[in-house]
């Protein structure tokens, strides 16, 4: 580490060293690099199936905002390792991220990403732009590529309210980064194919947050119906999907009662029509 003479104003602690940017990750990588997720460790064997994996996340835009929902299952190979894992994280007041892939690495990324956004906001005195946030997340995922090749894959889905446009925006990623901005809706994780198919038929432009929450719960159910790694609503244990709404009022996670009411309503309808709502042909 550099000598104290390099510190500003004669300060003596390396916490006061300026790295020349407002990035938390950049500062930590010079101050305490061991705190960051490992980037280029070589594992003796790929550990893909031995650690819990998070699965399906869906997001869709609404009138003046965006809704994101995730199921609660984590799997290790064919074992269900956790039934109530949380995979949708608040990033800051106007954005959130969902994770699919290695759960532990994903949670670490979500934690780091949150600090990264806040750190920038506090140092600069204003919030990062939505595109800036999406790019920052892309860099983080890109940095994990070496680990992803060894089985520790993490793919996030990022959703934010853009105050400049007064609309919700969705960004998706692949293992090498991104971001890819998505119109209307997107899904990630093992059940995403089925969820996306469901959303294609159920998505309505300019829907309300309540309607879209219902739509996403339907999509997650369809994903769980066909993908063994995606968990459906657990009626006996009362474990429901996580549904978060972001609009001009900020981030809010829907309460247990509200989500359980949607789930009850959906299950009741599916008792009669197991494949869910039928979209009009013309």
């Amino acid at each position: 580490m550099a000598s104290h003479r390099d510190l500003p104003a004669g300060l003596v602690d390396h916490l006061f060293r300026n790295t020349g940017s407002s990035s938390f990750t950049e500062f930590v990588s010079s101050y305490a690099p061991e705190l960051l997720p490992p980037r280029d460790e070589v594992l003796a064997t790929p550990i893909g199936d031995q650690v819990p994996h998070a699965t399906t996340i869906v997001a869709a835009t609404i009138a003046g905002g965006v809704v994101m929902a995730g199921d609660r299952r984590a799997t290790s190979g064919n074992i269900i390792s956790q039934r109530d894992v949380e995979k949708v994280f608040r990033a800051d007041e106007y954005s959130c991220m969902g994770i699919a892939g290695t759960a532990s690495t994903g949670i670490e990324f979500a934690r780091l990403f949150r600090v990264e956004l806040e750190h920038y906001e506090k140092l600069e005195g204003l919030a990062m732009s939505v595109a800036g946030k999406a790019n920052r997340l892309a860099t983080m995922i890109r940095g994990n590529l070496a680990m992803a090749m060894q089985g520790l894959v993490v793919v996030p889905l990022f959703a934010a309210y853009d105050p400049d446009r007064d609309e919700g925006r969705i960004f998706s990623y692949d293992v090498a980064g991104g971001p890819y901005e998505r119109e209307r809706f997107d899904a990630i994780g093992s059940g995403s194919i089925f969820a996306r198919g469901s959303l294609k038929k159920l998505y309505r432009d300019g829907a309300s947050a309540d309607d879209m929450a219902m739509t996403l719960i339907q999509a997650l159910y369809d994903a769980a119906d066909d993908d063994s790694a995606t968990g459906g609503p657990d009626v006996t244990r009362k474990i429901w999907p996580i549904v978060s709404v972001i609009d001009a009022d900020g981030y809010r996670r829907l309460g247990e009662e509200q989500v359980s009411a949607y789930v009850d309503q959906m299950l009741e309808a599916r008792m009669i029509s197991p494949d869910g709502p039928i979209a009009p042909l013309r």
Partner: protein, 271 residues
């Protein structure tokens, strides 16, 4: 025994440094931090909209400073890094105002004794708790001394006079509008003119907010608050009537509690 040429006694050196720092700080305007019913209020007359004297450090911790901008800006940035690193290493609840005050104290103290020039700054670290009893205000001077203030703190140019006015008017569990009124009265010399809204930097640490408690009050929100606080009502009535938020009104039949007894440190003591 003859003294070497140019000898100055340690006492003399320290006194000179302290005088130098105090003069630098006294040139600036004062900043006031005080407790209100929902948390802590920061008020600073500041003509600049870009260069802040008040800032967020972490979820529950705010920062206010007077003196040389570049020096307290370095302290602020270091404080944010300290808080974010600790919160990331451990948990968000493990970041405390006390830890931050200690970091600043050790740095300010080292610079004061070792450097030719001490920092010309005075800093307040305020932390909002779950209850008013959990609130903490730490005031740090240029030499690294820490003062654990109760209820309110003032620093900067006319700190002594501002503290005297604060002590006179401060009450426990004031509404936000009342607390702002008290702060502005304290910051204004008797018969003097109040700074216009555009030249006020106001922020709160509101314990009722979710996640991050720090909030800047600007624009129409601040204007509305100021209109409430300068409404021509007597002091005890305005607390219960002038607030738009559902705040609990203080009991009107008993006299409201006053500020803490005893001498209040206004930064005027040597070292």
């Amino acid at each position: 025994m003859s003294m070497p040429f140019g000898y100055a006694s340690p006492e003399q050196i320290m006194r000179d440094k302290a005088d130098y720092a105090r003069k630098g700080i006294a040139r600036g305007r004062s900043v006031v931090v005080l407790q209100y019913v929902d948390g802590l209020l920061f008020v600073a007359p500041n003509p600049s909209r870009a260069l802040h004297k008040i800032s967020e450090i972490y979820d529950r911790i705010g920062f206010a400073a007077v003196g040389r901008y570049n020096e307290f800006e370095e302290l602020r940035r270091g404080g944010i890094r300290y808080a974010d690193i600790n919160g990331f290493t451990y948990d968000r609840t493990d970041v405390t105002g006390r830890g931050l005050a200690n970091l600043y104290a050790s740095n300010l103290g080292r610079i004061f004794t070792e450097s030719i020039k001490s920092l010309e700054v005075e800093v307040v670290i305020a932390e909002v708790g779950e209850t008013p009893e959990g609130d903490a205000i730490y005031r740090l001077t240029f030499d690294g001394s820490v003062f654990d203030e109760h209820g309110f703190a003032a620093m900067g140019g006319q700190a002594e006079a501002v503290v005297a006015r604060l002590k006179e008017r401060y009450r426990e569990s004031m509404s936000l509008a009342d607390a702002l009124e008290v702060a502005l009265q304290a910051l204004t010399e008797p018969g003097g003119e109040r700074p216009p809204v555009g030249q006020l930097e106001v922020a709160v640490l509101d314990r009722n907010r979710e996640h991050r408690k720090f909030l800047r009050l600007t624009g129409t929100r601040l204007e509305r608050l100021l209109a409430q606080s300068s409404a021509p009502t007597s002091e005890s009535e305005s607390a219960s009537e002038s607030t738009s938020e559902p705040l609990t009104a203080p009991p009107s039949d008993t006299p409201p509690p006053t500020g803490p007894e005893g001498p209040v440190d206004d930064g005027s003591s040597p070292l």
